[in-house]
């Protein structure tokens, strides 16, 4: 059995919405019968836009959310039946910097969690030393977390996930809000962990990160896995189209929809680059892109959209997502 086996895992949230005394029950399918497995020494990327179901999947795997149906196994233990055993076999970094005690120092945080993981104290001490060195926080181990920068907090949260040397590691947006240097450090450590044989699940909406780190990627949308495979294979599937990337101001969904009606255009997705400046990014998948480009530009100019940059690009995982769903990952 692989370290992670997910079988028809679903989560439906039952909520009530509406004014007081007139609330109407509503069901939200967050994860819809997904299946996947992660073998030893693999980085498995869960890629999707916000609200796609990535974090819910992670939280079901780490027993924080009870699945509605299906099951998942971590090192052979069921998340439905053997929750404590599952937690023993997991190292988890959840998204957000408020996952540490701000009135404790970096070292005190790690010592506290080491005790909750029942780590033998002399071993924990040694392990904490190693991890503080690894994430570059040795010289700030005695500083209260409230005085850490965002990047330092994220690095310490990452170190916390590695404390118990679990065979399965779950990282939820591990490099979100990190500077490029810290992001590189975290990615290097993740690669090293993979080489040591850990099974790693990584959720991100950063497609470049998923692309460079993951051995296989599952693209998740509206709770379903819409594509699964190695990034190179997924990108190969959209190589038959040319991909035109247009940076512009005053882009609208209407313009994108109108472009979609061009016979040469297979998919169009628009995403905001800088909402304060009304800057957006249009990605157009088209057969014979060079031939259709003048027609597209003429149409956009007529719509009074000011174009700042046009380029032909190599397909990315974002394009795989667009090709599959017709929407951008940044939506």
């Amino acid at each position: 059995m692989n370290p992670v086996e997910v079988q028809s895992l679903s989560k439906v949230f039952e909520t009530k919405e509406g004014p007081l005394f007139r609330k109407v029950p509503k069901s939200l399918v967050a994860v819809d019968a997904i299946d996947f497995s992660v073998p030893k020494g693999e980085i498995f990327g869960l890629l999707g836009p916000n609200g796609a179901g990535k974090t819910t999947t992670i939280k079901m795997l780490c027993t924080l959310i009870t699945p509605t149906s299906g099951d998942a196994y971590v090192s052979g233990f069921s998340v439905m039946k053997d929750q404590q055993k599952v937690r023993e076999n997991l190292g988890v970094m959840l998204t957000g910097e408020r996952t540490l005690y701000w009135k404790l120092t970096g070292r005190e945080n790690l010592e506290y969690f080491a005790a909750l993981y029942h780590m033998e104290s002399s071993y924990a001490k040694k392990r904490i030393e190693e991890l503080l060195e690894l994430v570059g926080l040795k010289d700030r181990e005695g500083t209260l977390i409230e005085n850490y920068s965002t990047g330092m907090r994220v690095r310490l949260s990452f170190a916390k996930a590695l404390l118990n040397e679990a065979p399965v590691l779950l990282f939820d947006e591990p490099t979100a809000s990190l500077d490029p240097q810290s992001s590189r450090l975290i990615r290097d450590i993740i690669r090293d962990l993979k080489n040591k044989g850990h099974a790693i699940i990584l959720t991100t909406h950063n497609m470049e990160e998923a692309d460079v780190l993951s051995d296989r990627v599952a693209i998740i949308d509206h709770g379903k896995i819409v594509m699964l495979g190695p990034p190179s294979e997924l990108k190969e599937k959209v190589k038959s189209s040319d991909i035109i990337e247009i940076e512009a101001r005053n882009l609208s969904e209407n313009a994108a929809e109108a472009l979609q009606s061009f016979s040469e255009v297979s998919k169009v997705a628009v995403s905001a680059l800088d909402p304060s400046e009304d800057r957006g990014l249009l990605r157009v998948h088209a057969e014979k892109g060079k031939e259709v480009l003048p027609k597209i530009l003429e149409f956009l100019v007529r719509k009074q959209i000011s174009i700042t940059k046009v380029s032909f690009i190599q397909p990315t995982l974002e394009d795989v997502f667009i090709a599959q769903t017709g929407r951008s990952l940044r939506d």
Partner: protein, 282 residues
Amino acid sequence: MIRMETTSGVRAILQAWAAIFWKGIKHYTRYPGNFVLYLVIPFLFTLLIFGMGQFVGGNNAATNFAARTGTTNIIVYEILGSAVWMTSWVVVEDVGVVLRDEQMKGTLEQNFLAPVNRFTLLIGMSLTDVVITTGIFFIVVGVTLAIALPSAFLTIIPAFLALLVGLIPMFGIGFLFAGYIIKFKEPYILTQIVNLLFATLTGTYYPVTLLPYWVQFLSGVLPQTYVIDDMRRIVLANQTLVSLYGSVFILLALALAYPAIGYAVFKQFEKKAGVTGEFSKY
């Protein structure tokens, strides 16, 4: 892949408790405001009640007080009630709110990710409060006895023992609220209403025997009622814990019942929170 060296069984539980305890103490020392508040409130409320009695009760206030309570030492009588009420306040507010507090800090999920039993976590989080409430009790009651009734200063020890027995059911009540608060949020509205209700029902500032009969029934199921009464008998009427065996027995029975009920209710809410994804909601 190297697997870590772990502890197990009782040693693992003790290690987790020690870590949770020290984390709590560090938080108290680094956020000292709450401790100061807990120390000041018993004195302020006692002065308030004392002032009301003196200014509104008229010339016979002290005589009437003695007739109804059996003591002329108003300050000691009231401060004992205040100290127990404050202890109960800390337990309900801290144990009841601790998980919600962790939830709002974002650390609750981190605790629940660890392979530590949830009951171990709750007990561990309560241990800090045992020390805090003990500190509050010794400072508030010790200072008062030293000034207002020095001859009875040493009765603080048996009075504390009565409190210690009463703390167990009080923590049970705290567990009950802990589960409720994970689900329904808004912890302070609930705990403040409950704490004020406890002050009214448990004879904090007057004997419960003066309450209507049906209210006394409610007082009878609350451990604070017995602790306050026992302490007053020990400090002001020279009785011993042994002579108060009847109420000690009731406290022990409540010490079995409340933690069991509290934990069962907590588990139910915890289970529901897992289904609704409540742990991460702020």
